[in-house]
Amino acid sequence: MNATIASITARALLGRRRFLLLLPLPLLLVGLAWLAHGLDPDPSAWGEPVVAGLGFAVVLPMIALVVGTGVLGAEIDDGTIVHVLATPVARRDIVLAKLAVAAGVTTAVTATAMFLTGVIVGSARFGLGLAVACVVCSIAYSAVFLALSLLTRRPVLLGLLYVLIWEGLLGNLLAGSRVLSIQQYAVAIAAEIAPSPVLHARLSLPLALAMSAAFAVGGTLLAIDRLRSFRLAGETS
């Protein structure tokens, strides 16, 4: 974990316009929860669309996608990654620094929003459960998207396919695909910490934790290996 790389990455991420485009999402989440609570204090009807439909299905993956692909993808695209790579810093430290920034920013944004939503919907404990789920799954998502940035030249599209089609469409249709869906891990973890009628966990907690760890570690290792064999593309290619 390299502090210089982390600070430059954080500055690059937070200064970009693409990051600002995302802030409406958590605001929408909290705002909607607050509005709904005002109209109907009993969350049993509207709780699930807000927490699971918007929170875990849209806000968490989308923010993780933009941040996770942004920490490395932008530098690869414009070629400034060479300034980091042409140094003796271990590739592992580079990846860990980027992962820390991506997971940190994603967690900060999503966990805060989900905590506030949880407090509005239920109790502080519920909010805490949602936030913890965000923390764990931010790390998993960030590792996956970081690895995707190094595997392909269109990581955002592939990430969108994963979130929309694999987690979204197929996750609703095929029970088996849920095992590989980070969204479901988040729901399971939150439901375990603070059981609530709003959340319908489809996986057991041990499985969710194990798979989250697998995605996080697997994605990180894959990213480190790809970075070791990174090939620069010249202007003409």
Binding site: N2, T4, I5, I8, R11, A12, G15, D78, G79, T80, V82, H83, V84, L85, A86, T87, P88, V89, A90, R91, R228, S229, F230, R231, L232, G234, E235, T236
Partner: protein, 307 residues
């Protein structure tokens, strides 16, 4: 500057992408001093530099920098500095922050001192507090070179470093490269412009279509080029009389009389350049136009390859 810890050695290095061979069986040994890698666009210079810098593995052959291969070897960057051909820099950083970050990433014991020195060498001490996004192209180039020099590498690779530099900046950069090399470093830069390589006091490696066409110092290449027959198109007030007079000269290899003038093949460029005015004055012929044909860089390189 520590003495050079070795050389850059290539033995039979090739690199291909499917059916396209970018670098074809290149062998060379680079020692201390400035070497120019010259060649037309698409000759494989960038590919060769990327392989030397550890960003591309050779498809075949051996490539070592200071005795160790550069592919998958981050430790090599303690002694190697690269200025890549991509111009982009993080625009939101100032030059100071950019070079300082490089110094820190190279784990230097005194990053601030090194940054100050590198920025001074590249004449950026007036503007180091401004963001790179506000820099001109030449200044950005210099900032990148400063970041590559900050750890005083013994091997410095520069990919088309003179792109976008005006002649004064070019002279200054060349001077800097020579000073770095005089202290014992191996400096290799690539270019496709002959004039940029003129001031190189070391060797010139010429690459054409992936192959190493010729190596040597610039003067010997120049000499090779003067022995190449030059073709001129001449229009004058009396072509036939001029043709007769030119045929008598030993420097002239052949003359063709055509509708639009004479086509003269001269064996020795320098001698012909001195002979023509003498003949014209003696014969009292008015010359309207003298155009050297066949001066394209590619034809020069092609000629060199054929040697």
């Amino acid at each position: 500057m520590p003495p050079s810890t070795g050389t850059v050695e290539l033995h039979g290095v090739s690199r291909w992408y499917g059916n396209v061979v970018a670098v074809n069986d290149v062998s060379m040994t680079l020692g201390p001093g400035v070497t120019g890698l010259l060649g037309p666009n698409g000759a494989g210079k960038t590919t060769l530099l990327q392989m030397m810098a550890g960003f591309l593995p050779p498809s075949r052959g051996e490539l070592t920098v200071a005795g160790r291969p550069s592919w998958r070897n981050p430790e090599i960057y303690r002694v190697l500095g690269l200025v890549a051909d991509r111009e982009a820099v993080p625009g939101f950083l100032t030059a100071w922050q950019f070079v300082l970050a490089s110094a820190r990433l190279h784990e230097l014991p005194d990053p601030e001192r090194a940054t100050e020195r590198a920025l001074g060498q590249m004449e950026l001490h007036d503007a180091w507090h401004r963001r790179l996004g506000t820099y001109s192209k030449g200044m950005r180039q210099r900032a990148r070179v400063a970041a590559a020099l900050v750890h005083q590498p013994t091997v410095l690779l520069l990919d088309e470093p003179f792109n976008g530099m005006d002649p004064r900046q070019r002279l200054h950069m060349m001077d800097l490269l020579h000073r770095t090399a005089d202290a014992g470093a191996i400096v290799l830069f690539s270019s496709h412009i002959l004039e940029e390589v003129e001031q190189v006091s070391g060797t010139v490696q010429v690459m054409v279509a992936g192959r190493l066409a010729t190596s040597g110092d610039y003067r010997s290449i120049r000499r090779l080029m003067t022995h190449r027959p030059h073709v001129f198109a001449i229009r004058s007030s009396d072509d036939r009389r001029l043709a007769v007079a030119l045929m008598a000269e030993p420097a002239v290899a052949g003359v063709d009389i055509g509708q639009s003038g004479l086509t003269v093949r001269a064996g020795d460029y320098g001698t012909f350049a001195r002979t023509l005015p003498r003949i014209v004055q003696r014969e009292r012929i008015r010359v309207r136009q003298v155009t050297p044909s066949d001066e394209s860089l590619e034809s020069v390189f092609a000629y060199l390859v054929a040697q």
